[in-house]
Amino acid sequence: MSSLDIQRRSATTTEPPQARHSVEVAKLIDVSTCIGCKACQVACMEWNDLRDKVGHNIGVYDNPADLTDQSWTVMRYTETEQNGKLEWLIRKDGCMHCADPGCLKACPSPGAIIQYTNGIVDFQQEHCIGCGYCIQGCPFNIPRLSKKDNKAYKCTLCSDRVTVGQAPACVKTCPTGAIHFGTKEAMKDYAETRIVDLKSRGYEKAGLYDPQGVGGTHVMYVLQHADQPQLYSKLPDNPHISASVQLWKGWTKPLGLAGLGLIALGSFFHFVRRGRKVAEDEYAAREKSLATVQTSQSDQPPAERV
């Protein structure tokens, strides 16, 4: 991918070129049509050459039980009672590809996290230093450190496929069409038709999950109960980058840099106005002071030089 298609690069102050307009892409996950078959999990592993270890059944359908460096997407199953009826809510969890990515903001390693202009947030493992700040910075708790190489991994939205004009592997495989892919505009339009349909079937609060707290996301959900995202395996109501990351990277760092700049500028002016401070040679100064002492107390033997 050309360097011109980068929107943001972690821990880098270089401004990206901005003249070109590129289309934002998005993945839309319609929770109401997902049957939880996990074809997306398999397709993801197959395409990305990942193989998670065979785990243990923890008593529910969630398998693997959590995201790992080998499982970039997992289905999370919730049973809930809504309007007097049992509902089985199945949410495909994974990176949301935020417009304002907390991982990228928290990352201290230049170039380890990249945001492309099409909205994809991609990790560049060769620059990853394994500090795990991205996990702390993520409002959705998505990245996972690999125990093999101590580098962070997560869904790439199949950036390698999208770059050549294909859909992500999970989208392509989805047998019920619960996952869609296209421009963000097209996905919002499609979501609207789904929401109208859900509302006509009694889901009054159906809606799109595109949280503005992180500037919107490039993975969006159609939820039957958009007023209660928490129902869907604790999907955050209003996700935002944590206060500590905001404070450190949003305020302290720029202030520190400004201070650093002022010091540099001040030093420069000091040098121009006052010149350099020439310190006397320490040894010579000492000799001189000793000589003074000797002349005043000439009857004493000369002091040993240290």
Binding site: M1, S3, I6, R9, T12, T13, T14, P16, C37, K38, A39, Q41, V42, A43, E46, W47, P110, G111, I114, Y116, D122, Q124, T156, S159, D160, R161, T163, V164, A169, K172, T173, C174, P175, G177, L257, L260, G261, A264
Partner: protein, 197 residues
């Protein structure tokens, strides 16, 4: 040769380091704004169409193998995904289909005809010709012994009731039609498809 650093030199080096780091932090030492996605791994692979062998839906799959079929290249399938042009699945695959690659490379996959002779506990590899001849011979012997031209009431039935046939789920309508024709022609009644297993 041992070199000692004076206090003054130490300060100079430290200050220089800070200044360098500061310049970098202030964006005065621009870094190339570059990144690369993973290379698209199917670029010059060979693509072949096939049908998923698992169930009766018979989804179309695209199989990608390394190499361009050149004489000296040993092909090996590296990726399988749904065939968007197949009207059955239009590119989608279920979790079993999406994981076909693992089945292809499974050590337990049967790749050639094998026979376990009566009384033996060993499977022995045989050639396709041998296998087909054996099957045909068995079928002929069984049909000659058990074929029924009429039932108890004397009505002509031309049944061969002692043999069943299991057809492939990957068979298209046309292949299914031909299978049916051949088997009914022989008098086979018990016809089923692997798809129902």
């Amino acid at each position: 040769m041992s070199q000692t650093m004076t206090r003054r030199q130490f300060f100079k080096v430290t200050a220089g380091g800070f200044a360098g780091a500061g310049l970098g932090a202030l964006g005065l030492t621009p870094e190339a704004l570059q990144a690369a996605t993973r290379p698209f791994k199917l670029e010059r692979t060979s693509e072949a169409r096939n049908i998923c062998p698992y169930c009766s839906v018979s989804c179309g799959v695209l199989m990608y193998s390394i190499g361009d079929k050149a004489k000296n290249v040993e092909a090996s399938i590296i990726h399988i995904e749904g065939d968007p042009d197949n009207p059955v699945n239009r590119g989608t695959l279920c979790p079993k289909g999406a994981g076909l690659l693992e089945m292809i490379h499974s050590e337990n996959r049967l790749k050639f005809p094998e026979v376990r002779e009566a009384g033996s506990s060993e499977w022995k590899r045989i050639s396709w010709d041998e296998a087909i001849t054996r099957i045909a011979t068995h079928m002929k012997a069984d049909r000659d012994a058990n074929f029924k031209t009429t039932n108890e009431a004397g009505v002509t039935v031309n049944h061969w009731p002692t043999v069943g046939f299991l057809a492939s789920s990957a068979a298209s309508n046309e292949a299914g039609y031909i299978s049916h024709k051949v088997l009914r022609g022989l008098g086979v009644i018990g016809i089923d498809t692997q798809a129902r297993i």
